[in-house]
Amino acid sequence: MGIEYLGLSSVNGPLVVLEGVQDAFFDEIVEFVIDSSTRKMGRIVELYEDRAVIQVFEGTENMSLQNTHTKLTGHPMEIAVSPDMLGRTFNGIGQPIDGLGPIVSDDMRDVNGLPLNPVRREYPRNYIRTGISAIDGLTTLIRGQKLPIFSGNGLPHDQLAAQIVKQASLGDNSDEQFAVVFGAMGVKHDVADFFQKTFEESGVADHVCMFLNLANDPVVERLITPKVALTVAEYLAFELNMHILVILTDMTSFAEAMREVSSSKGEIPSRKGYPGYLYSELATLYERAGIIEGANGSVTQLPILTMPNDDITHPIPDLTGYITEGQVVLDRSLHGQAIYPPISILPSLSRLMKDGIGAGYTREDHQDLANQLFSAYAKVGEARNLASVIGEDELSPIDKQYLKFGEEFEHHYIGQGPAENRSMMETLDLGWKLLSLLPKEELDRIDTKIIDKYYPQKAE
């Protein structure tokens, strides 16, 4: 192990090539010492006999073909895990940056993780109340789910994520431990500060473990950040039995970093220049959410991604949508009308919702009510289109009722205060109140018995 290699054969962007390596293995971590002072880390990404292509995490600045000593560490990318990590802040590859000293632990974990065996997964069924009607009522978040927020630049996705963290209650069972793992890839300083401040203000800071790779930090580091964050999350959830909410922001920067590295490796690009393995890479991250049979903890993921040019068909949101269990989509025109949170409900979806709501979880009418709200709101769109052609006055009375419903729905159901925490019953009852703006005959998604029971009786 002790061999040090002097010099490099080539340096190209974030990649260096080292020749004459002995006994190296694929995915191994190497250490560089530059000019006998600066230390850097790297990972072997390609290996041809004695020629290793190494990705340098901290960037290749100052590295020359002569001044670099390289040492093989003999292990893949690992991180020391310990319960003390809560309340701490680390850089993108898991080194403490809060000045509180290193994490002392012998418990090393491979950050790449392993696929969770489907026969040992437990199907997620418990909902997490976020206190936000548009999410609780229509795209319910379930413990163990991965539900990304599809946003755009300038939309309040950070506020929304912070509000969810503040309000996410795990029910009345108080002995259950809750913690947040926060992984930031290429985010702006202000964003990192915002989250840090919010966590402190809401008193959860000592239950948060932060991994920060800021926008001006090395790009390659970003590829490791989410893996490190998820490794810690899995440890806390499955071994310390905690309920972990993982916030990853911004997945777009992660994918961009992957494209950058792939292109400097000279790989054949597929869609929009992203490498062909973009799907597999994203999947290995997202699939690390879930619940294991027998463990009391869970990993719930809330990745945030900004859609380039608000385009939901862009490869990053597109592939993400195919892996995650739904998505919460933010909308610029709702934001423009000063509606917070600007959740565009029609394209939003929670796939696990159907099994975590209804009798025994929330209330028997929840699913039907949600379907009806979706369907009615879809009709609002049609009525608005028609109104823009023939004018509002010419609409039929029923279309006018839909317009009214749409207005009310956007302002009072979707819209709510950034500190407003609604209970599940409030959200459901509000839904019925809005549906009562429409005649009973229009409610075609709800079982007649449920309508009779819950449709508010109007004093005519």
């Binding site: 293995f25 006999e49 026969v119 062909g276 079982d447």
Partner: protein, 588 residues
């Protein structure tokens, strides 16, 4: 023979061996000290390329690669049903027992339980002449399915000894044959078959029997035949997986092979849980008794994802050879195509459209052509139907996987985003979907359901098409200005959409509907249309008709008429007659 090689280069799931080896194309190899499973994908004078079905991190150049002498194959014997495998037929339950909750590498477990004793009934006697496909023994594999052990397709001879009926493991010798060249051959329950080679059959029958799914939009509007192929394309969230789950649950196939190819882990867990609890309406046994799951979730190695489709297909063909009707749900073929693209990129092949390799179309056609209603080697009739989900980028059907799939399937169930947004499920759009089987199956429908069936179906489709052209006008000038006969078409089309096409998978009566009920529902809807037309022709305005609530009543049939009381549907015609009389009385 030089059947080992040394690793020279490693690039993700692809590894290279230097120097000349005697490896064969598609041969299975064991890679490195951990004996990872791999397959030979290219041979060159001085370079052998291998794709590895497991994670390659930790491999070193210089490690040894060993050839196994046979192509990547699956083990075929009792124990396949009520089980869950990864993409190369390794049982996930056993992997979990040895390796814990996470799938570790280089796990060596046999595909099927070799210790379990099965009740065996031998069906051949000494002196019988047997050939490929002859059934030598029957084993009750689950409560629902009798497993028929067969002579492997390429063997024939004379039975020289048999064991008595009793309990045996899958590797015990049951029958000994004397082959044509005089050598003896022991046969057990087990046989092996390479996954990329179709199992031979006697000949192919034309499609003539529908695969009944209990889903109205499929059975009535766009039916698939037993032995047919169908594609379900749709963007994320449009309900591909839901539709496949519904077909897997309620279709009248004997065996279901569910391939989760690059999909979500939680979904596979859900199938496992739900199918273990749900009861097959035909046999009264749990659905898992007739189901096999192939789970290669999206975070499992990409090369095994590519293989998983073929593994499932080979298992399906094996059960077909026993004379069963097998349905394959492949969710999703796009993930498989992307695995091809990913590997092709690693091999630095010249990309064709959108980065997919040029052989995408030929691979897809070879896959779908393995479906069919066949006469098997032993003279039984069996079928393999393939229902493949397609996940097009951004829900855009013009991308290469959807377009190439469309060329090779005969049934196209296009999912529509706007229907899904308004929570109209199944979100199969009636205008973009088609089924080429309708003509082939019309004979069956008129014999088994009603001679009027196809006519009714066509009349409903015509109404839906008229609605769509009328909606163009409504979008421009509003619905109020239409004449009453056209307003009636809109109203009836709404009844068809909400009352017939939309189906609630979570409602106990609506989740699966018999052909008889489907037909009677059509009958009532068309009767309502006929009655209303009479009234409109007499000059009654639509507002008068709509005041009567009859449309809502017909829409609610799907919830109000229980499946065990279909006769109730006859009462609706009386209701419609009463409605007719009432309207006439009030507005005389």
């Amino acid at each position: 023979m030089n059947n080992t090689g040394t690793i020279y280069g490693i690039n993700g799931p692809v590894i290279y061996l230097k120097g000349k080896t005697d490896f064969k194309m598609s041969e299975m190899v064991h890679v490195g000290e951990e004996k990872l499973v791999g397959e030979v994908i290219a041979l060159d004078k001085d370079l052998t390329t291998i794709q590895v079905y497991e994670e390659t991190s930790g491999l070193k150049p210089g490690e040894i690669v060993e050839a196994t002498g046979s192509a990547v194959s699956v083990t075929l014997a009792p124990g396949i049903l009520d089980n869950i495998f990864d993409g190369i037929e390794r049982p996930l339950e056993r992997i979990a027992d040895t390796g814990g909750a996470f799938v570790t590498r280089g796990v060596s477990v046999s595909a099927l339980d070799t210790d379990r004793l099965w009740d065996t009934h031998i069906t051949v006697a000494e002196g019988d002449i047997v050939q490929g496909g002859t059934i030598i023994a029957e084993v009750p594999e689950t409560r629902a399915i009798k497993h028929k052990c067969m002579v492997p397709p390429d063997i024939s001879g004379k039975v020289v000894s048999v064991v008595p009926d009793g309990t045996y493991t899958i590797s015990d010798t049951l029958v000994t044959l004397e082959l044509a060249d005089g050598t003896a051959k022991d046969l057990s329950m087990t046989q092996y078959w390479p996954i990329r080679v179709p199992r031979p059959v006697h000949h192919r029958y034309p499609a003539s029997v529908p695969l009944i799914t209990g889903q109205r939009i499929l059975d009535t509007m766009f039916p698939i035949a037993k032995g047919g192929t169908a594609a379900i394309p749709g963007g994320f969230g449009t309900g591909k997986t839901m539709t496949q789950h519904q077909i897997a649950k309620w279709s009248d196939a004997d065996i279901i092979i569910y391939i989760g190819c690059g999909e979500r882990g939680n979904e596979m867990t859900q199938v496992l849980e739900e199918f273990g609890e749900l009861v097959d309406p035909k046999s009264g046994n749990p659905l898992m008794d007739r189901t096999t799951l192939i789970a290669n979730t999206s975070n499992m190695p990409v090369a095994a994802r590519e293989a998983s489709i073929y593994t499932g297909l080979t298992l399906a063909e094996y059960y077909r050879d026993m004379g069963y009707d097998v349905a394959i749900m492949a969710d999703s073929t796009s993930r498989w195509a992307e695995a091809l693209r990913e590997l092709s990129g690693r091999l630095e092949e010249m990309p064709a459209e959108e980065g997919f390799p040029a052989y995408l179309a030929s691979r897809l056609s070879a896959f779908y052509e393995r479906a069919g209603m066949m006469q098997t080697l032993n003279g039984n009739m069996g079928s393999v139907s393939i229902i493949g989900a397609v996940s097009p980028q951004g829900g855009d059907f013009s991308e290469p996987v959807t377009q190439n799939t469309k060329r090779f399937v005969r049934c196209f169930w296009g999912l529509d985003k706007s229907l899904a947004y308004s929570r109209h499920f199944p979100a199969i759009h009636w205008l973009t979907s088609y089924s080429e089987y309708l003509n082939d199956l019309s004979g069956w429908y008129s014999d088994h359901v009603s001679p009027k069936f196809v006519d009714y179906r066509n009349r409903m489709m015509a109404l839906l098409n008229q609605e769509s052209s009328l909606m163009e006008i409504v979008k421009l000038i509003g619905g109020d200005v239409l004449p009453d006969d056209q307003k009636l078409i809109l109203e009836i089309a709404k009844v068809i959409r909400l009352g017939f096409l939309q189906q609630n998978a979570f409602h106990k009566d609506d989740t699966c509907v018999s052909m008889e009920k489907q037909f009677k529902m059509m009958d009532v809807i068309l009767y309502l249309y006929k009655t209303c037309r009479k009234l409109v022709a007499m000059g009654m305005p639509m507002s008068v008709l709509k005041a009567e609530n009859i449309f809502e009543k017909v829409i609610a049939i799907k919830y109000d008429v229980p499946n065990n009381n279909i006769q109730m549907l006859d009462m609706y015609k009386i209701d419609i007659d009463n409605f007719y009389n009432r309207v006439l009385e009030k507005n005389a």
